[in-house]
Amino acid sequence: MTLMIRPDSWNLPVLLHVAGAMALVASITVVSVVLVQGWRADDPGTAATLQRYGARTLLFAALPSYFVMRGAAEWALSRENLTNSKANWIGIGFAVADFGGLLLLIAVIIANIGSRRSREGGMSALTKAATAISVLLVIAYIVAIWAMTSKPS
């Protein structure tokens, strides 16, 4: 049976988890759109500006949001006594969060190195790789949203 009303003590960790996840998805989507526009820009100056903008959004918005989402997920699981659960939806959530976290960290590093290297020379190969990772993360997070709401057993 699906639980629709939670005990009050679960609400704060769930709120922080969902808010962190929303901020993470929003910032990664912003990064994807910005970097794709930078990739397509004809003017090297515009491309350099957009990749710097994307790299900073990854560092100052996506990464902190990830830590809020991931930390609150652990808190929510402990409140719900699901820390040792083998449920599929929790497994999918962990897989996307942890593997996605590694990809996010790689994207933050290479996008910031790429934006420093390129200056006014257009989009660097490193930033193009960060763009691909960002788009992949958006897709992975949609799968995670499906798992968190549908809770496949």
Partner: protein, 140 residues
Amino acid sequence: MSYTTLLFLHVLSAFVMVTAVGMYVAIAVAVRGERHAAPALALAPVAGLLWAVGGLAVIVFGIWLALHVGQYSLTDGWIIAAIVLWVIGSGLGGRISAGYRRARADGGMSLDSATLTLTLLLVLTVVVILIDMIYKPGAS
């Protein structure tokens, strides 16, 4: 449509809506630096589209969900509050989109203070909607 499918579509729409808000905030932050203003404002049409699609879908699937689940009623206080906040958010989003369109038409060098204030109010509205959805005050 099953409860889980409706819930997935409702939550996914909410994520799309919040992504639009995130994009509005990113534009507002970027426009403060003259160099980033024009490229940042190029995101405004994408943000406007996400806001329209996410905003419409979230209310449609939200009401559908409230009608589908016997435990909920459209006259529940927390659902009425969410609908009122959604209407306020829609009005703010529409005015923000218009503000960004004006800024783009002016060459993207500045954003009026009213649009910045509305963007902050929209963030606040969305946060209150999220709190309402998680805590469901008054639900039994």
